[in-house]
């Protein structure tokens, strides 16, 4: 099967400050693709680069065969990619209902209403809190709201940037389960950046190990988990 996302030899960074060096990756449809690496290795920057939030100096990114290199984020969003940043991924001052309405901003009113009902079916806990401001939600609930907001646009590819950061272990597991369900039930391709490398590699199909902005490993997730040295060297996994 043709890959849904192709990143080829990308150099990227912020202004003149290069952070990614010659990064390449291929993501198969309906895979959970995990990006791991030590702190500051450029994992989040890679996600942002795919979503057009950094400067790309070299290389190309193709989504569904379409060139998206250098496009602005709102255009990339239209092609069917959703990006969930680690923080500030919902409007804290707006109610849950208003957040969802904003997620459906560009859709015609009827369709917007329909999609909002759909995601509320999927996440019943949001239904009970429609009138509450997002700032009153717990961290986990906020992640769910952010996910619901992305789903309204029926994305084909979702980019998650450390969705479990600062969550209690039990909540973190629940969020990761929801992510697996998105793939299993809706057939959405997932790219996941995770601090908890072990957990992420267990649920992932393919993985990329990024160190100092360079690719150190590309291949099966389970194989990286069982790799004799890489895990211990860079991910703090026990041998």
């Amino acid at each position: 099967m043709a890959p849904i996302l192709e990143v080829k030899g990308v150099d990227a960074g912020y202004g003149k400050l290069q952070i990614l060096f010659n990064v390449s990756m291929e993501v198969e449809p309906k895979d959970i693709f995990v990006i791991v690496g030590p702190n500051g290795s450029g994992k989040s920057t890679l996600l942002k680069t795919i979503f057009g939030l950094t400067r790309i100096y070299k290389g190309s990114i193709r989504f569904n065969g379409e060139e998206i290199t250098g496009k602005p984020p709102h255009d990339i969003a239209k092609t069917g990619i959703a990006y969930l940043p680690q923080t500030d991924n919902v409007f804290a001052q707006l109610t849950v209902a208003e957040n969802l309405k904003m997620a459906a901003y560009t859709l015609p009113p009827d369709l917007a209403q329909e999609r909002i009902s759909e995601v509320l079916e999927r996440f019943p806990l949001l239904k009970a809190r429609l009138k509450d401001k997002a700032m009153t939600l717990s961290g986990g609930q906020r992640q769910i709201l952010a996910m619901a907001m992305s789903l309204i646009r029926k994305p084909k590819l979702m980019l998650f940037d450390e969705p479990t950061a600062a969550l209690a272990p039990k909540l973190a597991a629940e969020i990761l389960d929801e992510i697996i369900k998105l793939r299993d039930e809706l057939g959405i391709t997932i790219i996941l950046v995770e601090q908890n490398a072990k957990k992420a590699l267990q649920m992932g199909d393919k993985a990329l190990l990024l160190v100092g902005g360079r690719v150190m490993y590309r291949g099966g997730a389970k194989e990286l988990l069982e790799h004799p040295e890489l895990g211990a060297l860079y991910l703090g996994l026990k041998k």
């Binding site: 979503f51 984020p73 709102h74 969003a77 239209k78 990006y83 940043p85 500030d88 991924n89 919902v90 409007f91 804290a92 001052q93 707006l94 208003e98 309405k101 904003m102 997620a103 901003y105 560009t106 907001m149």
Partner: protein, 335 residues
């Protein structure tokens, strides 16, 4: 002491002007995160629109007329709204994009203020020239107006009360309620709040953040413009009339906390009353002490300055940040 009714009515006009200005200043601050030092001069431009209307519609001949308001309110809204929009699009947005520090942005707004006052001075020179050269005897009488005109003589009265005392509060209430409904009940209003809170996220959702900010600046300028129309009925027309007024406007915004439009309006109103009544009662007290007539109207901004100092020291986040439930229950007003 008995409340002075006429003073109260006069104050209504002035306090609503400050309410409108503090509210609109707060709007630009929320959007661009820079205190706009040119904001009171925005109002001065609105004031000049009244003189132009009085001249062009021939109101200087016919005397007091509602035409003053019919024509100058929309005119000021559009002209000053456009000035504010240009300030955002040509100056503040490009500078902010370049990463200029807040000090740099503030001095840029001070520069805009100088430019606007310069343009008002040029206009005043022009108008003086036109009035002086006019064959129309009545128009020649207006020659001092561009630099020191009292335009209140052209405004109508309602049952003996000057229109500005009623129109001012009315405009403040209408714009505050209108804003509230717009921001909470309409999709674009909600998008405006979203874009202000988190522009990056809003952008990824397809909200045109730049459009939202541009419209905010236009509305803020427009409100400052209509504030200027009311303002000129309470004071003397002059190109630099905004220079002292900005003290009161900032005082209102700071009392409101520079974070909420509603509280900005409340802050401005409170400052208006504080200044007027502060001056009034201080005059009475000092008069009684010294046995002479004391006139302190020129020093009204002392109360504003005091309010800024006290507010920044006691509650730097403004009245909006206070726990009103707790305060009311302490006072025994609410259980």
């Amino acid at each position: 002491m008995v409340l002075n009714v006429q003073l109260f009515l006069d104050t209504m006009a002035y306090a609503s002007v400050l309410g409108l200005l503090s509210m609109s200043l707060t709007l630009t601050y929320i959007v661009s995160r820079v205190p706009n030092f040119a904001h009171a001069t925005f109002a001065a431009i609105g004031s000049y629109m009244v003189l132009i209307v009085v001249w062009l519609l021939g109101i200087y001949k016919t005397g007091p007329s509602w035409g003053v308001y019919y024509a100058s309110l929309p005119l000021s809204f559009i002209v000053v709204g456009a000035v504010a929009l240009l300030q955002y699009l040509i100056v503040l947005r490009p500078l902010a994009k370049k990463g200029i520090s807040i000090d740099g942005l503030m001095i840029a707004t001070l520069g805009i203020d100088i430019i606007l006052v310069g343009l008002l001075n040029i206009s005043a020179d022009f108008l003086e020239e036109i009035f002086q050269q006019s064959p129309d005897k009545d128009l020649r009488k207006l020659v001092t107006y561009p630099r020191s005109g009292y335009l209140s003589s052209y405004e109508p009265t309602i049952m003996g009360v000057t229109a500005s005392s009623i129109l001012g509060p009315l405009l403040l209430v209408v714009s505050t309620v209108g804003f509230y409904l717009f921001l909470t009940r309409t999709k674009f209003g909600t998008a405006m709040r979203a874009a202000i809170e988190n522009p990056q996220l809003a952008e990824t959702l397809g909200i045109n953040v730049n459009l939202v900010y541009s419209i905010s600046w236009f509305i803020a300028g427009g409100l400052a413009g209509i504030a200027g129309v009311i303002m000129v009925m309470t004071t003397k027309l002059n190109p630099t009339m905004g220079w002292l007024l900005i003290v009161s406007v900032f005082a209102g915004s700071i009392v409101g906390g520079l974070g909420s439009l509603f509280w900005g309006a409340v802050g401005g109103l409170l400052i208006g009353f504080l200044e007027q009544f502060g001056v009034y009662y201080t005059q009475i007290i000092l008069g009684a002490l010294t046995g002479e007539t004391v006139s302190l109207g020129n020093y009204r901004q002392v109360f504003s300055l005091g309010a800024i100092v006290v507010m920044l020291l006691v509650a730097p986040q403004g009245l909006a940040s206070l726990n009103w439930g707790k305060i009311l229950s302490r006072l025994g007003l609410r259980r």
